[in-house]
Amino acid sequence: MKCTLPAVRSIGIIILVIAQVFQPFAAKAQSLSVVKGIVHGDNNLPLVDASVIIRNNKTNFTTGVKTDSAGVFTVKVPAGGPYEFRISNVGYEQQTLSGYNLKEGTMFQLDVPMKLTAGTLDQVVVVGYGTRKKSDLISSVASIKPENATKNVTLDLGEMLRGKAAGVMVTTSDAGPGGSSNILIRGRSSISGGTNPIVIADGVRIGSINDLNPNDIASIEILKDAAAQAIYGARASNGVILITTKRGVNGKLTINYDGYYGVQTAKRNFDVYSGPEFAQLKREADRAVNKNILRPDAVIFSADELAAISENRTIDWAKEVLRPAQIQNHNLSFSSGTERTKLYVGGNYQNMTGIVPTTNIKKGTLRINLDQTLTSWLRIGITTSYQSSVSSDPNVSGVVRQIVTASPLGNIYNPDGSYNVRPGGNQESFNPLLNLAETHNSQTNRNDLENIFIDISPIAGLNNRINASRRSWNYKGLNYSTKKSESGVGSGYGSGNISYQENVEWMVEDIISYNKKIQQHSISLTAVGSASEQDYYNFNNSSSKIPNDILGIYGLESALVNVPTIDGNKRRLLSVAGRAEYNYLSKYYAGASGRIDGSSVFGSENKWGYFPAVEAGWNIYKEPFLANIKAISNLKLRASYGSVGNEAIPPYGSLSLANQVDYLFGVDRISGYAPGSKLANPKLKWETSTTLNLAADFGLFNNRLSGTVEWYKKSTTDLLVNRQLNASIGYTTQPDNIGEVQNKGIEVTLNAIPVRTKELTVQAGLMFSKNKNSIIKLYGDLNGDGREDDDVANRWFIGQPIEVFYQPKYLGVWQGQEVYPGSTFNPNTGKWEINGAQAPVAVDPKTNKPLIDPYTGKAPIPGTTKIEDKNGDGKINSLDNYLTSKYPSWMGSFNLSATWKGFDFSMDIYTVQGITKDNQYLYDYTAGGDLRGNRNGIKVNYWTPENPAPVYPQPNAGTSPPGMALIGLQDASYWRLQNLTVGYSLPRRILSPLKLSTVRVYVSGQNLITRTDYLSYSPEQDLYAYPTTINYVFGLKIGL
């Protein structure tokens, strides 16, 4: 018994052996009995789609069926007994009828009335390697209803989760076609390790959350505390997202179509300078470098610019480049099942064009989920997903920026109709339309997943699942810039690159679970053994000097320069996990879980990590002393404590490797290798997060008002950090385990049903989360001053969040009167004068000497930036810096939904408050914020001698006003009306004759209103990212 792996691989053999052992128990051909039943719901109406599970407690024969549109189910089962019937439906209390013996060849009739549930307590929640009833759940698991998520008009599943669970922060990184978002659960806990949660779909880790078709999802669960996560051990510290896809159900054939079509637009909350305004900016910028004397236009402007000025022309680049885009999403699913075979097939087609021309994506997904019962104790299931997409996104962030920075003065086209490369004649201001026309990009992605599982349940309550999967991701990327593109204009040649990537991940798992109820005691045990491997390859060929554009990138064979690079890695994980849970009377709960993981990416002596967790819960409302208080329908206290790990670092961190670095002697190539600047760390190990989670769930007034309050404290130690080394040893960084980071926070979720009548139901939900992130410890106290040391170079400070701004405060602009009191500005001399003579510099009342600008160390110049000298030492240095967190102080969301007759309405509002961002549009050279007049930019009220503006300094053609970079910090808090949907479903009396079960039409708007002071296209995004759009769609849903 050397290794788990061969053992896992030999599982197939074991199955065969077990199958032999169980041969005597295999189901024999039996005589049948028919069961027919009707299920009644609220107001004694037939209940459609209710699920009925029929189980013979002796033989373990189990089958399931759903009620039809008349609330009726019919099923044939082997005669015998005793049989148990479990009838369930969302929103109703589960009914269990047991002790029925069925005679051969007879029909057995049932009439089942169902009671509306008080709330959602009986909802089934998926946890790691199992499911729990919500009322039995002790750990912190947020369930998101897929129908709430898919309401959002976006093709990004990450974006759909925004505002849907407390403590989950979703930031859109790229809102363009094929874009994705970052998901951060309960704050950032790692400095250099990854921060993305792992996504597990049907028990298999998938690459990206967008590998799934959102319409195939049956449930989404987010595991937030250590007790929930520990069973995923070393990969869980950033949280776990569990997704379960739909599967076929017995006895019912359903076909559903759901699709929408709509338009998207982008909106920015700032203006750029128009042609005449930009001309004025350039004049002022030129004036500043010419002793404040305005000069004639002829020496300032190019010929193209002069023509535009005289004709009063403006190029509105946003109008020229951006266009309304379309978005469409079509989904068709099919589901059917018999006693033994259940099938779900889901197909999805998405097509989206971007607001930037030439950007688009077409994506198709097909899922086939099959379940087959072989014998009473053996079941096999297959889960497959195939996805492929083709998209185009040629350097769009550059274009989004160029829309702001391209000169409004000049000509888009040359007289011959071709694009004018530099519309204003200025080198920095490039024509964005040219690159869009002359660069080509195509990306092809293919995602395949095959997963087979076998369930062996030899005795009641015991199940052994063997789960094997293979997932592959293939990528092909083609980029080409023609001879006329920005790079082509420079080099005179076409250039581009072609790249192929392949990622294969396979996993074998064995999961043994055992559930037993002995009188009032319930026990649940789970054991897991798992092995997985990921192989990654990337081949890229960059070609330049391609002599002609005929073949595009496929002309690389004729390129004068081809630079191939190849890259690859492999990572492996070997794990054993277990969990034991106990409850008494569904009142007192206790549990323990843990996982041992061995990961290849760590140092040879530190491959293995152990992650345990414990939990306890108490359903107080079931205690006699609360039973009399009718208002309280639920009250539960929960606590958990445990640790999980993070292994999200690139492979090879513990190995000393050399880079290929070649040289040239005349015409002879010299092969060279040298170790890079990163020092290997053979002792590299896990990062460990330990979380204490305390929570209370409550329900009032028959759960018309319910909610959860959670408090957590998560300490992450042995942080994976690329620490800085003293460079004199010849290396500058090393991956290492140091220090400690803490995340502390509170999450509140409230749900209310203020109105519930026969015709009108109104629901409202509120979510609030607040997280405080701070670095507790880094390298220790190396300099011996009795305090933990900061890492200033990396901007890591003890007691502060991981990401901070560290800079002095921007105060505004030195004013003429402040520097030269009592003077007036003379535009002819460009000087501040008193009675025709240069005014003297004001005296600093503190020193009684002439004023000194601490930033420059010289007399202040009116119109230049004023920086706060915090400590008053007359200099601006690191002692004057302020620390400002980059994280929000709180986030929240509010949703309201209502149904009235056939109409439905819903609305989501999302907010992020107390967040500061650095807006480079306000100062950066490449973003046109530096007021030099080289590029256009955000329109601001800048200072001129005649206009003593308080905030933005005097434009300067020579150099960006010193200190201007400090202007960028802005409050980026925002409120957003994220989604508004109104729908109408046709009544049954119209549908029944048509043999349809549902027809719903709806209109929906996404990101309709955003309120923020942050000047941008979208406040939560990086400045140059593809902007979030406002979408309007019309949708149709048909069910059979």
């Binding site: 402007f301 420079g490 020092l679 010849g730 300099n783």
Partner: protein, 526 residues
């Protein structure tokens, strides 16, 4: 049923005994080589040396890749002496608000030690390795030693207070306790000299373009001797180079011609577009030197000039030669042209000829209104890095760069002999300096002093990156810079900005001071 349970238990045991799978979890990289391969045998050391050449070229890079601020550090040295007028890019770092331990780019400090460490690894591993040709072994060590010495020399000249560490770093010894203390000048220069002396013994003058050779080792040795006031050694090293007969002054138009691998070049950086594209490739990254010192004529009002390599093509115009440098050529007050051949061969002409086909001024001198007072568009510009082979639409060039040339050796020799004999008319000194003058077509000197040497050096070697060190060595850096270096984008705003006396040393990066606490001091003044 018992049988069943036995099987279940067996399964459990299998999974719970996973801890002996170290082998399956062992990591190996299949696309990169392991570091220890380099220092093991002859083939490994050869590629290790190849790597050193690459790192050395990267260390001195002047490319668009400014990672670690290395390009900025290197351009700074071209732009911060007494001969330039800086418009943008580096201006805040040159003696201004950003010349601080936190604001100043830090690549030169950290990448220097990296290069030294890799050189030390080759130097210390080689003696124990057997070579098929023992001469090659010493030659290989010698090449690595020149690279190490050159790097130490540069670091010391920039920072004064540096560390010496000749033991290669490994993951095992990286955190051995060390007291970080600046090395003494004697220790630093002794180490450099011993490396160079070994190289002089073991290297020949014959080398491929881009390869270090005895001439370069001796040139460096002469420069180090100058810092030690060891005029005899300085003179002797130059005399040896001259006596070798391997080098000669080129005709003036060929010095910075398209091919700089000529007999005047002692050491060069080799670049090649077809083999390059980035620092790691054999052809290297493209240099932007040509663009940096060249105004953008094609942006001049009127649009009579288009991007054309005869006028430098696409360009940047960040720093241009200033009026002080111009005055050193004694241009004719009326025509503005100097008889010094260097004035017309090292710089673009002031008057431009229209080159836009179809333009009324095509082939004709431009009208007066075309010349703006805007240094970005128009200024007297440096032609030393002119590359007619590059595409006109880019400022990126793959022309080889001269690091050290014979003319500089001769000027060093002139200074050495003059200082050695303390005779302003020392015949050898005059012979050397007048070789350079004769080539430029200007009359010979009959007597020299420090100022004449400095001025001749300016005329011959301006914008080649060495003058800042020369001024510093002679102790006139602050006075020269404060008298002549300017900032500005137009005549109307060109000004001198005072250099503070402590700025003769670069600030040591603050994060490194923090990491070397508490014994390693910041350079005074910062």
């Amino acid at each position: 049923m018992k049988k069943v349970n036995t099987f279940i238990i067996a399964l459990l045991i299998i999974f719970l005994t996973g801890s002996s799978c170290q082998k399956w979890l062992k990591e190996e990289n299949f696309t990169k080589i392991s570091s220890d391969v380099i220092y093991k045998d002859e083939a490994g050391l050869e590629v290790g040396l190849g790597g050193l050449y690459n790192l050395q070229r990267s260390y001195e890079r002047t490319t668009d890749n400014n990672s670690n601020g290395l390009t900025q550090n290197n351009l700074w040295l071209y732009c911060a002496d007494d001969l330039g007028c800086t418009r943008t890019f580096n201006d805040a770092q040159i003696y201004k608000a950003s010349m601080t331990p936190t604001g100043f780019p830090r690549g030169k400090w950290s990448a220097g030690y990296q290069l030294i460490d890799r050189a030390s690894a080759v130097i210390s591993a080689a003696p124990a390795v057997s070579f098929s040709n023992p001469t090659r072994k010493n030659q290989l060590i010698a090449e690595a030693k020149v690279i190490r010495a050159y790097t130490y020399f540069k670091l010391w000249q920039l920072y004064d207070n540096i560390l010496i560490d000749t033991i290669p770093t490994t993951a095992e010894n990286a955190f051995d306790p060390v007291v970080y203390k600046p090395a003494s000048k004697t220790d630093v220069l002794n180490l450099i000299n011993s490396d160079l002396d070994f190289a002089i013994t073991n290297l020949s003058y014959l080398a491929k373009p881009g390869q270090v050779n005895q001439g370069f080792a001796r040139h460096l040795r002469a420069q180090v001797a100058a810092w030690q006031n060891d005029w005899a050694t300085m003179a002797a090293q130059v005399d040896s180079i001259v006596a070798s007969g391997k080098y000669s002054l080129q005709p003036i138009e060929k010095v910075f011609g398209q091919d700089v691998n000529h007999s005047e070049a002692i050491f060069t950086y080799q670049l090649d577009e077809l083999l390059g594209g980035s620092e790691a490739l054999s052809g290297g990254g493209s240099t932007i030197l040509g663009g940096v010192f060249q105004a953008r004529y094609y942006e001049m009002p009127g649009g009579h000039i288009i991007e054309d390599n005869n006028y430098g093509g696409n360009s940047l115009g960040w720093t241009v030669p200033n009026n002080y440098l111009r005055s050193l050529y004694n241009p004719d007050p009326i025509t503005g042209v100097s008889a010094d051949k260097r004035f017309t061969n090292y710089y673009y002409p002031d008057s431009l000829i229209g080159n836009k086909p179809g333009d009324p001024y095509y082939g004709k001198p431009l009208p007066k209104s075309s010349y703006p007072d805007n240094y970005r568009q128009y200024h007297w510009s440096v032609m030393k890095y002119k590359d007619i082979a590059k595409p006109a639409g880019t400022y990126q060039s793959y022309k080889d760069i001269i690091v050290c040339r014979y003319a500089e050796t001769l000027l060093l020799g002139a200074e050495a002999h003059w200082r050695l004999t303390n005779n302003p008319s020392d015949p050898t000194a005059l012979k050397y300096i007048n070789m350079v003058r004769a080539r430029a077509g200007v009359p010979p000197f009959t007597a020299i002093d420090q100022q004449t040497i400095l001025d001749e050096s300016a005329r011959e070697l301006a914008f080649e990156g060495g003058r800042w060190f020369l001024l510093k060595r002679m102790g006139v850096l602050v006075s020269q810079v404060n008298a002549h270096h300017t900032f500005g984008s137009a005549k109307t705003n060109e000004t001198v900005y005072p250099m503070q006396p402590w700025m003769v040393r670069w600030p040591i990066p603050q994060d490194q001071i923090d990491l070397m606490a508490p014994n390693f001091p910041q350079n005074p003044g910062y």
